[in-house]
Symmetry: C2
């Protein structure tokens, strides 16, 4: 189980619409192979910055299967216009699950 963590800076003032579109996009993730969870976090200090946090069973489920799918194109169509810069994407795995 890994997390895709995408840092997204949206164009100033477009946050509320971006959040709406993210909600609309949830079914794309829900039906994606190996996708376990999806949530959107907004920065407290910089409200135009977001973290998209998606749980995947394997790295390939995200970077191979999802990114080459039609649903990926739909996802970008829904949210891509709001990006002020290309998202910075990392993947993480939980190494200490404290409490």
């Amino acid at each position: 189980m890994i997390y895709e963590v995408a840092n997204i800076q949206v164009k100033v003032g477009t946050g509320p619409l971006f959040e709406q579109r993210f909600s609309q996009a949830l079914p794309l993730f829900k039906r994606a192979r190996g996708c376990n969870s999806a949530r959107l976090e907004r920065s407290v200090e910089h409200p135009d910055r977001y973290l998209v946090v998606i749980g995947w069973q394997t790295l390939d489920d995200h970077v191979v299967a999802f990114r080459t799918s039609n649903d990926y194109a739909l996802w970008r169509e829904l949210v891509g216009d709001f990006f002020a810069a290309p998202p910075i994407v990392d993947h993480t795995e939980v190494v200490v699950s404290g409490f």
Copy 2:
């Protein structure tokens, strides 16, 4: 409920010891006012990079109460030597809790 998300780059090769120290530090968070959760994530692409993700009831529980506590000094004593650069800390709140 907010998350403290700290991006930490550790000195090359010190990851395993840093992870051990993080585990040792868990009681400090467990007893901190307003602390709900604590976990450590490691980057898949860059294994010297970590995300420390701590759940707090309020921003003040972290930046006022915890950061001025003796336990904060203990936390830094346990892990500070491993940092290759000052941690980059952000706070987020979940705005879309998909699934």
